[in-house]
């Protein structure tokens, strides 16, 4: 009875989404994942306030975690080979990775969804051309593609975003296409066609919202992969240009000295692993919750 009363009140769209999103609490795995992500997002957003030192300022090099320099303060995670505070660099580095990884994933999705909708709904030669091109791009081992693209066009944030879009859009297209092939035969699509709606309307208003479940889970996993990719490119020396902090780059710069000063290398490794773990756990939780209803 009360349930019905609540439903008839027709909560706004935003409330509906929030209520659905709150379902993630039912999965403890997903909650932990979400917690880790929220932690790093908070670190990234509040870096200018929380970080004890400017990320590129140099103090005493090679100091172990907990090193205290009386007038300036304490270096909780120590300093690196150039005397920069590792904790501050991790916080500022979180900004870089949490800006570029979601941006690149978003661009890949924008392109992949367009291609997938066109291929799955229009079929015919459009489908053939798009699917064959996707096969060609997907036949490259992915890091080979990244390395060749980045070394040819140069290492910069925008090139990383473009390379990720180019390499991931075909995979997303395949998923979207598969979902569309299933959904296009539903009655509501036939109804929209009978009403005389345009294909664009049917693709974006009728089909896409109904395909969102698996896509959200996949997007979560994909952000994790993109974080790894950005880290790996930084590690290979193909990432964002120094001196601004970038987790993969921090590992690359300090790994030669890791034998004597392991803290310089290990903390960035833990940071990137935990963030990826957060996204993977969240994806697992989302899948679990969405299978339940």
């Amino acid at each position: 009875m009360t349930d019905n009363a609540i439903r008839s009140a027709r909560p706004s769209k935003i409330m509906q989404y929030l209520r659905r999103a709150a379902l993630i609490r039912e999965s403890w795995v997903g909650s932990i994942g979400l917690g880790i992500i929220v932690f790093w997002v908070a670190m990234a957003l509040l870096a200018p306030l929380l970080a004890p030192f400017p990320p590129n300022a140099q103090y005493v090099p090679f100091m172990a975690p907990g090193f205290n320099l009386p007038p300036t303060g304490t270096f909780w995670l120590g300093t690196d080979h150039l005397g920069r505070d590792i904790l501050s660099r991790l916080m500022w580095g979180a900004r870089t990775v949490l800006f570029y990884a979601p941006l690149a994933t978003f661009c890949a999705y924008a392109v992949g969804i367009l291609m997938g909708l066109a291929a799955g709904y229009k079929r015919g030669w459009i489908d053939d051309v798009l699917s064959r091109s996707a096969d060609v791009i997907l036949s490259f081992p992915i890091l080979v593609l990244y390395v060749v693209i980045i070394t040819t066009f140069g290492a910069s944030g925008i090139n990383i975003v473009l390379a990720v879009t180019f390499a991931s859009a075909p995979g997303i297209m395949r998923i979207v296409r598969g979902l569309v092939l299933d959904l296009r035969n539903r009655d509501y699509v036939a109804a929209a066609q009978t009403r005389g709606e345009s294909s664009l309307y049917i693709m974006f208003v009728e089909i896409l919202p109904n395909a969102r479940g698996p896509l959200i889970v996949d997007a979560c996993l994909r952000v994790g992969y993109v974080i790894i990719t950005i880290g790996v490119l930084g590690f290979l020396g193909l990432g964002l240009p120094p001196p601004d902090p970038d987790w993969g780059g921090m590992v690359n710069e300090t790994r030669g000295m890791a034998m004597s000063f392991p803290h310089m290398t290990i903390f960035p490794c833990i940071a990137i692993s935990s963030l990826v773990l957060g996204f993977n756990l969240l994806a697992d939780g989302l899948r679990e919750v969405s299978l339940r209803d």
Binding site: V29, D135, V136, S139, F140, P141, I142, L143, V144, V147, V148, T151, T152, G224, I228, G231, V232, F235, L236, G237, G248, V251, R255, A258, M259, P262, T265, I266, C269, I270, I272, S273, V276, L277, N280, L281, D284
Partner: protein, 311 residues
């Protein structure tokens, strides 16, 4: 069957052809920049023009492309700029080293992940299943360079049990393979476990398994003789497709451990803009990837009794 095979192989050749056009356009469309990369930035225009003339770069683009393609098809990849030697001299050696690394990784990864996947999928939702699934999520979340750092920290710096580099400078040494293989294994096995688990869980829900259990067969026998046969079809495809992933993985691992393999070669060539080496490496990588993909397709069709070939 013959038509099916011909189709797959033809398709594979077509993909290779398109990839070769893309690579050629990406790296060689501008002859001037090729000359700069080969001769260096401090050469005069006249020197570059002489080089371009001698190497046929003033011919039309399509003639150059077919000439290059013919060279690749006959195993002539040109002269490496970085190594000052024919590309093929270096490439095959490095590829052999990577094959050893890959084979060792597979020899561990495949049995371990199939076993774990089957154990997890046997009883969906059990404590064992949750443990295995969470572990596999955990290990896939750690990028290869991070696990390499952490493992090196434990086994090389702290315990001192293993060597930290795998350059094999004093001849082949299996001990130097342990860490690279372990890193590749840790990053890769989670995916295979999850695929095997999903496939196994699906099979366990089918009526014929229920029948086998209900007619009183021992549980061991139900799993070993009935479930496994169908549950391992999907992982077979995944195992073949993982070779594509392995070719990415070796770039990081070989760079980290200074192993003289194909991945390190590709990276070195790319960083030094050694275009003929990049082309050769990329073509080889795509060839390996596409071949394994084709084998996976054919194998899947062959193994799966539900697919009948109509031509």
């Amino acid at each position: 069957m013959v038509i099916f095979l011909a189709k797959r192989v033809g398709y594979m050749l077509l993909t290779m052809l398109v990839v070769s056009i893309l690579l050629f356009l990406l790296l060689e469309v501008n002859g001037e920049s090729v000359a700069v990369k080969v001769l260096g930035p401090y050469t005069s225009i006249e020197q570059r023009n002489i080089w371009l003339e001698n190497n046929g770069y003033f011919r039309p683009l399509y003639v150059r492309y077919f000439d290059w393609l013919f060279g690749i098809a006959t195993g002539d990849f040109g002269q490496s700029i970085r190594f000052k030697a024919p590309v093929s001299d270096i490439l095959w050696d490095r590829l052999g080293n990577t094959a050893i690394l890959g084979a060792a990784t597979y020899a561990i990864m495949v049995p371990v992940s199939l076993t774990l996947g089957v154990l997890a999928g046997m009883k969906e939702g059990s404590a064992l299943d949750r443990t295995i699934s969470l572990t596999s999520i955990g290990t896939t979340s750690v990028p290869e360079f991070a696990s390499a750092v952490l493992l090196a920290f434990i086994f090389v710096f702290t315990l001192g049990w293993l060597p930290g580099t795998s350059a094999m400078s004093g001849g082949f040494d299996p001990v130097q393979l342990i860490l690279p293989v372990l890193v590749l294994f840790l990053y890769g096995f989670g995916y295979l476990v999850r695929m095997t688990r999903a496939s196994m869980a699906e099979v366990m829900q089918t009526p014929y398994i229920r029948t086998a259990i209900l007619k009183g067969l021992p549980y061991r026998q139900v799993i070993l003789r009935h479930a496994l046969r169908n549950a391992l079809i999907a992982p077979f495809t995944v195992i073949m497709l993982q070779i594509n992933w392995l070719l990415s993985g070796v770039i990081v691992v070989e760079f980290f451990f200074a192993y003289k393999g194909f991945g390190a070669l590709l990276l070195e060539a790319s960083l030094n803009q050694d275009i003929y080496m990049i082309q050769a490496c990329a073509m080889v990588a795509v060839f390996v990837a596409v071949t394994t993909q084709t084998i996976a397709d054919i194998g899947y069709t062959y193994l799966n009794p539900r697919i009948r070939l109509g031509g």
